[in-house]
Symmetry: C2
Subunit: 212 residues, 2 copies
């Protein structure tokens, strides 16, 4: 008699881990393409190769799936910013931050779109994460940038808007991929566009931040 949803026992089964992984992977596909409201449990269950009630055996609600997905993805998503090193060389730290963010846009576009969808629609489910952990991390790194600017190592600029502009330019290649490809046309829609973008962005930010 399976009274409880998987997890009455403290210990998680092998099957539980496998299936939850499968569900989250499928949910990432569906949520990132359709947003929370636009995605259906049936779609996700289908993509995960199981029935709807079976999925609901592992996650109580659609929101629970989404919740766990967001939590998991958020931490990996902020990794590049966390790696921003106050003791490193300013120019190369910023350069490598741009490069890493762009690589993430290329390699994990679904994760990027998941967040974009969420924030675009008012972030009803992750407001706390934005105002808490995210803000704190950005505050910390903004201070680093400000110190660099004061020390004359990079041009004086608003560190928050610098971070926003790096986020937006890099994530653009994941979130607005369809538009980018449509505009570039077939000729430049290969993976080369990421290298072109990297070259352009590095030059833009390096020249824009150089002390003059």
């Amino acid at each position: 008699m399976a009274i409880p949803r998987a997890a009455k026992t403290q210990r998680r089964t092998r099957i539980q881990e496998e299936k939850e992984e499968l569900i989250l992977e499928a949910a990432l596909d569906i949520f990132s393409q359709n947003g929370f409201r636009g995605a259906t449990i049936d779609q996700i269950a289908d993509a995960a190769g199981m029935s709807k009630p079976n999925l609901l055996y592992y996650f109580r609600t659609k929101e629970a799936v989404h919740r766990q997905l967001i939590d998991r993805v958020l931490s990996t998503w902020l990794e590049p910013l966390r790696a921003f090193d106050a003791t490193g060389d300013p120019e190369s730290e910023i350069r490598s931050y741009i490069r890493r963010k762009l690589e993430m846009a290329r390699d994990f576009p679904r994760e990027s779109r998941l967040f974009a969808n969420e924030i675009l629609q008012g972030a009803p489910r992750i407001e706390d994460e934005l105002k808490g952990p995210l803000k704190e991390l950005v505050d910390e790194k903004a201070e680093v940038i400000r110190v660099w600017a004061r020390a004359g190592k990079i041009a004086r600029c608003d560190p928050y808007h610098l971070i926003f502009s790096i986020w937006s330019t890099t994530q653009h290649y994941a979130d607005f991929d369809v538009q980018v490809r449509a505009v570039l046309g077939q000729a430049h829609s290969g993976d080369g566009r990421f290298e072109d973008a990297a070259r352009f962005l590095e030059k833009l930010f390096m020249d824009g931040l150089r002390v003059r």
Copy 2:
């Protein structure tokens, strides 16, 4: 006996114009907040102060509302790019393009989010516009930028990625408004953030594009 949906007569009524306007205005609110699938006809009808069947008297389907909204907004949205003048001074043309795009993000955030939602979800309903009119316009302006670069008036750079970066940095303040506000905190969430952003972006692009 009202056999046809409004428009059997060639001439549109005063009421027709008013109500259609009202519906599109309400639909902009709802669609931009929830995306196409996430929005319901009931929500839009409510926001427009009428019943669902009444809304469907003016627009045959939900998609028809969305369609007309997109068509209308697209042309105004591209206005700043169209205004890009090949005969003008490169630096001031680019500077004023950035400023105008940022003003649009501030003054018409719903329009920006409507597109962002659409493109994020694969642009199923506007693919043709992207590959047709949009691409042609961008191609034309990219050529202008390339000529400027060849003439040594601005730094050599990939014109397409330059345009993408202007789009993304400016629209970020509309599309990711919630995140921007969460990170900046209450202190900087006033309208001042647009002036700060303008200052930052103008410096970034001007220094990044200056011939050196």
